[in-house]
């Protein structure tokens, strides 16, 4: 765009437009899902600011929907907060992975806090594919990617809340499958070796078996440990 950037080599840092292009599927998916969230919140009798504040400050898909259902049913504060904690505890695993993966980049404390604020299932999935490929990424790209996603999450919630009276029928289109499809694509990209494919199958089998016994937020922890354990055993043998 301006003189300084055109004089530099193109590969030094990803231009903002490329960051946005790579974040755009998440941006579109988040917008749709949080639009539905805003819609549902206002239709459940919540004030307009609540879905917007939740999207801005909490920024967690499944637990926002769970909290909405709990508030509507008159649950206690403790129940709501504990449920949120348990649903989102899986992000600890992702954060541990990122601590190691981002080590080489030498992030400052502040950059770590900023990055953590935008760490979600989808951003983790996309970033781990990129880091795993050894693609050149820098902290501006990572935080920029998260900011685009977070912004669209907040805007979707706001618009959904405003349009609640007029757009209640949009819920039935269920475009949220876009997020599932995106995660499936990422999963295929992550299964780039035979060992990783086996580790993934082990994790799904374990998670599936546990979910049939009872749905608990700890299932994902156990399944991830099993998947990693299987992976480590396979690495040792080969």
């Amino acid at each position: 765009m301006n003189e300084t950037s055109s004089s530099q080599p193109l590969m030094v840092r990803p231009p903002r437009s490329r960051t946005f292009a790579e974040a755009s599927p998440v941006v579109a998916g988040y917008f749709t899902v949080s639009f539905v969230f805003g819609l549902m919140a206002v239709n459940a009798g919540m004030p307009l600011w609540l879905p917007v504040a939740m999207c801005l400050f909490v920024y967690a898909g499944a637990s926002q929907f769970a909290a909405l259902a709990l508030i509507s049913s008159g649950a206690s504060l403790t129940t709501i907060v504990l449920t949120t904690f348990l649903i989102n505890a899986r992000h600890m695993l992702m954060s541990v992975y990122m601590a190691k993966a981002l080590q080489a980049m030498g992030l400052s404390r502040l950059e770590r806090w900023c990055y953590a604020g935008g760490l979600t299932d989808e951003s983790f999935a996309f970033h781990s594919v990129k880091l795993g490929k050894g693609a050149p990424v820098n902290v501006r790209y990572l935080i920029g990617f998260n900011l685009y996603c977070h912004t669209s999450w907040v805007l979707g919630g706001l618009l959904g809340a405003i349009c609640a009276q007029y757009a209640a029928h949009l819920i039935k289109y269920q475009l949220d499958y876009a997020l599932t499809a995106m995660m499936l694509y990422v999963l295929v990209s992550l299964c780039n070796t035979r060992n990783k494919l086996i580790a993934a199958l082990a994790a799904v089998a374990c998670m599936g078996a546990l979910s049939m016994v009872g749905s608990s937020p700890f299932n994902v922890f156990i399944a991830t440990f099993v998947g990693c354990g299987v992976g480590v055993c396979l690495t040792k043998r080969s």
Partner: protein
Amino acid sequence: MPDQTFLILVVVLMMAVTFLPRALPLQVNTDHWPPFVARALEYLPVAIVAAISLTPLLIKDQHLQLDRPEFYAAIPTLLCAYFSKNLFLSVAVGTAAYIALGSFL
């Protein structure tokens, strides 16, 4: 409608319990971790993404339920992702398949 103070408290506390698990592990210095942790972490993304994305398609209400559009639509999505390596195409195929199947099943 619940009162405003309660809702503000809900948002503030939810923010705390969401942000801290995301942020605290990232502050840890990983220089001195033993090598087997690094080997295990190599498998963490694939294990966690597989567990959180595939399981809800297979299991609903503690039962294996494969006759749902969520599951059927995953098949063309995975095939498209594997063969085309194109994200936008895979998402388009998956969402279209889901909507189409949803009107039949």
